[in-house]
């Protein structure tokens, strides 16, 4: 069959041009398969407490991948159409009718899609064990992962991609049928006009974003859900206007600032951007929003991890803790510890009252002070100063294990009495060995409460080396009673942290997928532009622009196209994360800087690729 042969011929010839497209498709297929197969993996499904998380991330990831693909295929097919319009036109000139040409080209796209589907599935299968092993490691699941091929996942992947490929086949086919020969031959030669600038919208964009930030930061007074909803909507709207009107306004200003405009290659880059920014503002805005999502979500998961490390100190301040006031029992414990060849670094005892109906424990301010001092808590000076002058008020110490508290409390009930909260603090006190909110009252008040509630003694021990105390824990469990609430460093390791490990791993993986999506969208969009710039650079070369100057101006132009959404995205995410940091009551500077740097590195790689390809196109190498 003649058209099929032509397709195969074309396909082989253009394989190089398809490089990044293939890579992106293969990557997305492989990722899609892995996320889907995770849901069907029998080993993971057995682990009850994580299967729910896995299922929901798997669903989210699959949906995101499909969304990405729709975007991606749209941009890349436009790019390829532009890339080869002349060729298509030539077939037309030779008398091949539109239907046949369309069929040849659409078939080529389909072939490419099928190829990437097969390669992607193959690689996906190959790497699935690695992926799950990493996941299991991150989750601290102590199990061997068997090689597992999920027929269901393969089928699902094939079905999802077939639908997408078929739609893009139809789209490509229809697009070519609808073109005229004359358009194809004169493609890219249409005169561009200077876009009009809407000053009102330009300024409105800044105001809108400002309002969104204000709402986000003051989430307390609007309620969290309402603030989240409105600030997201307003930020997206504002970002679209920002790129649609404000940025063109800014660039227009630059064009008229001859001092900047007439400095070397600026004249080329700035003029080009002035014309292009309006055409592409939707992409820029979408990329800026994507970047925000990327950095914020990665920032969130890494903050969570960081936060947990911090939290660990609150939850497990002692290597061993138990509740007992019997001297005999305490001595037995010390004997067992001595038997295990470890030395005790700190031995702390504290009396407290337990108020079962309110779910709180009460300590007096002098006990509080000695605990904080013994544990060497940072910034305790300020807290202790307040503890010294409690009249009728109390200090509210958050229950260990609470990640963030969305409500600000004013009062607390202790039994039948209500106290005013003077200070809400998050400091290590008893740790998870006594997992209750602690209320600090002054000594006089404590004595009064002691008459009503039972007093107990908390014993905390810090050993020189907390690792490897598994056996010690079991031996202690033998001698201590059930009520003693034995809690050790070993027991802490097996709880909450595995879950965060999963969330972190999947979050990081999704982040990677998002970076890839963002990068490839902007890559294809900018390269589509490059074809319109060919003639310009040809003229520039003729009038004596050196190759270096061409490289320079391309770097600037492409660089600005990458940088503008990046800056907007970073600012948005900084605001988002500052809100998060406020919620968690922790400074999240470190994890945020890490996630921004990681993002910039990955994004920078795309910039380098794009820039290089752009130069190839405009100096006619490619």
């Amino acid at each position: 069959m003649y058209s099929f042969k032509l397709t195969i011929m074309n396909f082989r010839r253009n394989l190089k041009a398809y490089g990044l497209y293939l890579m992106a498709m293969v990557f997305s297929v492989a990722t899609y398969y892995n996320f889907t197969s995770m849901r069907y993996n029998p080993q993971f499904l057995e682990v009850k407490n994580i299967s729910m998380y896995i299922e929901s991330t798997s669903m989210t990831a699959s949906i995101l991948m499909i969304l990405f693909l729709v975007f991606f295929i749209m941009y890349s097919s436009n790019f390829f159409l532009n890339y080869r319009k002349k060729e298509i036109g030539l077939y037309g000139l030779m008398g091949v009718d539109n239907y046949k040409v369309a069929f040849i080209f659409a078939l080529e796209g389909l072939l490419l899609g099928i190829m990437s589907l097969l390669i992607g599935l193959f690689l996906g299968l190959l790497f699935s064990k690695l992926f799950l092993m990493l996941l299991a490691r991150a989750a601290l699941l102590n199990m061997r992962i068997d090689f597992f091929i999920s027929k269901k996942a393969i089928l699902e992947t094939i079905i999802a991609y077939s639908i997408i490929l078929f739609i893009s086949f139809l789209k490509g086919y229809l697009e070519i049928i609808r073109t005229n020969l004359i358009d194809l031959m004169n493609t890219l030669r249409k005169a561009e006009e200077l876009p009009k600038v809407n000053y009102l919208k330009g300024f409105a964009s800044l105001v809108t974003i400002g309002i969104a930030y204000y709402i986000a930061v003051n989430y307390g007074s609007y309620g969290f859900a309402v603030a989240l909803f409105w600030s997201v909507i307003l930020v997206i709207l504002g970002t679209y206007w920002l790129f649609g009107s404000f940025m063109p306004m800014l660039v227009r200003l630059l064009v008229n600032r001859k001092k900047i405009q007439y400095r070397g290659t600026n004249i080329i880059s700035i003029s080009n951007i002035a014309f292009r920014i309006k055409d592409n503002y939707r992409t820029f805005a979408a990329v800026a929003v994507l970047i925000t999502v990327c950095i914020t979500s990665f920032g969130t998961v890494s903050s969570l991890k960081y936060f947990l490390a911090e939290n660990h100190r609150i939850e497990v301040p002692y290597t061993i803790s138990f509740i007992s006031s019997e001297q005999e029992e305490i001595e037995r414990v010390e004997e067992i510890i001595a038997d295990s060849n470890r030395s005790i670094e700190l031995r702390q005892q504290a009396d407290f009252l337990i108020v079962p109906q309110s779910g709180v424990v009460v300590v007096n301010s002098s006990t509080f002070e000695s605990l904080l001092t013994a544990l060497n808590v940072r910034d305790r000076g300020k807290i202790l100063a307040r503890a010294g002058q409690l009249e009728d008020g109390v200090i509210y110490v958050e229950r260990p294990g609470v990640l963030m508290d969305l409500v600000e409390r004013k009062e607390v009930e202790v039994g039948d009495k209500v106290y005013e909260i003077k200070l809400q603090a998050k400091v290590p006190l008893f740790g998870n060995g006594l997992p209750y909110t602690a209320i600090v009252v002054n000594d006089r008040e404590y004595e009064a409460l002691r008459l009503k509630y039972e007093e107990k003694q908390f014993n905390g021990i810090i050993l020189d080396n907390p690792e490897g105390i598994r056996d010690l824990t079991f031996r202690l469990a033998e001698v201590l009673t059930e009520e003693s609430g034995l809690y050790t460093y070993f027991m802490a390791g097996a709880m909450m942290y595995d879950l965060v490990g999963i969330v972190y791993f999947l979050g990081a993986f999704l982040f990677l997928v998002f970076v890839f999506a963002t990068g490839s969208i902007i890559y294809f969009k900018i390269l589509t532009e490059s074809f319109r710039d060919r003639a310009k650079f040809e003229i520039l070369k003729k009038i004596g622009t050196t190759e270096q100057e061409i490289h320079q101006s391309v770097s600037k132009q492409v660089g600005l196209f990458f940088a503008l959404p990046l800056v907007a995205g970073i600012i948005h995410s900084l605001v988002a994360i500052s809100v998060l940091s406020d919620l968690m009551n922790y400074s999240l500077i470190r994890p945020v800087i890490i996630s921004i740097v990681v993002f910039i590195i990955a994004y920078g790689l795309f910039y380098i690729f794009t820039r290089r390809k752009f130069v190839d196109v405009v100096v006619m190498k490619g």
């Binding site: 005169a191 561009e192 006009e193 200077l194 064009v255 001859k258 001092k259 405009q261 007439y262 400095r263 070397g264 290659t265 600026n266 004249i267 080329i268 003029s271 080009n272 002035a274 014309f275 310009k536 003229i539 520039l540 070369k541 003729k542 009038i543 004596g544 622009t545 050196t546 190759e547 270096q548 100057e549």
Partner: protein
């Protein structure tokens, strides 16, 4: 008189082993300062090839080119680009303006690339804008201009660096007769008032009649030369007559 451009036995061959044919076949040429030289000839005579080689866009197969005494064939690519920007001006048939720059930016482009002081650039743009009658159009963009205006912008861009030579490749090719005449007047003014050296390739006898000297090219060789000694109308008649004798007929050349 001072020689600006000189060639020695210039050759350009196309094709590969066994099948070479010369597009330029041993041309010796001297261009003097302040000259307005026309190059005419039938299609395929090698006019555009010669112009491209003289203007350093293309390289000859053999021979020498001296630009104000400097051998330009020894220059490296980057050197050549800068040399071209600073010493040569171009006017093309299809204008070759940059669509996304305003008229003033288009004119300023070569100087801006060379990092000339902004004040100086603006002054020069203003002077040239007045010279070419583009004063009201400086803030406009090429798509808002007529063909004649665009070509005048191109002319202004060509001479803003005060080049040694301006090369014009069929500058009237895309213009109607009225705009053609206006543009040729401009070129003449450039030549006479600013003492700009111009080399113009054309196959339009009317355009050629503005030149001071015309070289006729045929099969890559200089076939004849014609000097203007009388008024333009008389020169025009002589050109037409000559083209008639050259073979190929007037119709082809007009």
């Amino acid at each position: 008189m001072e020689i600006v451009l000189e060639t020695e036995n210039l050759r350009k061959e196309y094709g590969s082993r066994g099948m070479v044919f010369p597009a330029i076949d041993g041309i010796d040429l001297q261009v003097y300062k302040g000259e307005f030289l026309g190059i005419m000839g039938p299609s395929g005579a090698g006019k555009t090839t010669l112009l491209n080689i003289l203007s350093t866009i293309d390289r000859p197969t053999s021979g020498k080119i001296y630009f104000e005494g400097r051998d330009i064939l020894n220059m490296k690519n980057r050197e050549l680009s800068i040399f071209r920007r600073e010493n040569i001006g171009f006017i093309f048939q299809d204008f070759n303006l940059l669509d996304n720059m305003s008229v003033e930016d288009n004119i300023a482009l070569p100087l801006a690339l060379s990092n000339v002081n902004v004040k100086e650039i603006r002054e020069k743009v203003e002077v040239l804008g007045n010279f070419f009658g583009l004063k009201e159009h400086l803030k406009k963009y090429p798509y808002q201009l007529s063909g004649g205006q665009k070509q005048r912008v191109a002319a202004a861009r060509a001479i803003i660096t005060s080049p040694s030579i301006v090369f014009a490749d069929e500058p009237t090719g895309a213009l109607d007769s009225k705009s053609s005449q206006e543009l040729l007047q401009c070129l003449l003014k450039m030549n006479e008032e600013l003492n700009t050296t111009i080399i113009m390739v054309t196959h339009d006898a009317f355009a050629a009649s503005y030149c001071k000297r015309i070289l006729f090219l045929k099969d890559g060789k200089i076939h004849a030369r014609l000097d203007r000694d009388s008024d333009r109308k008389e020169f025009f008649r002589r050109i037409i007559d000559f083209v008639g004798t050259m073979g190929g007929g007037v119709g082809v050349l007009l």
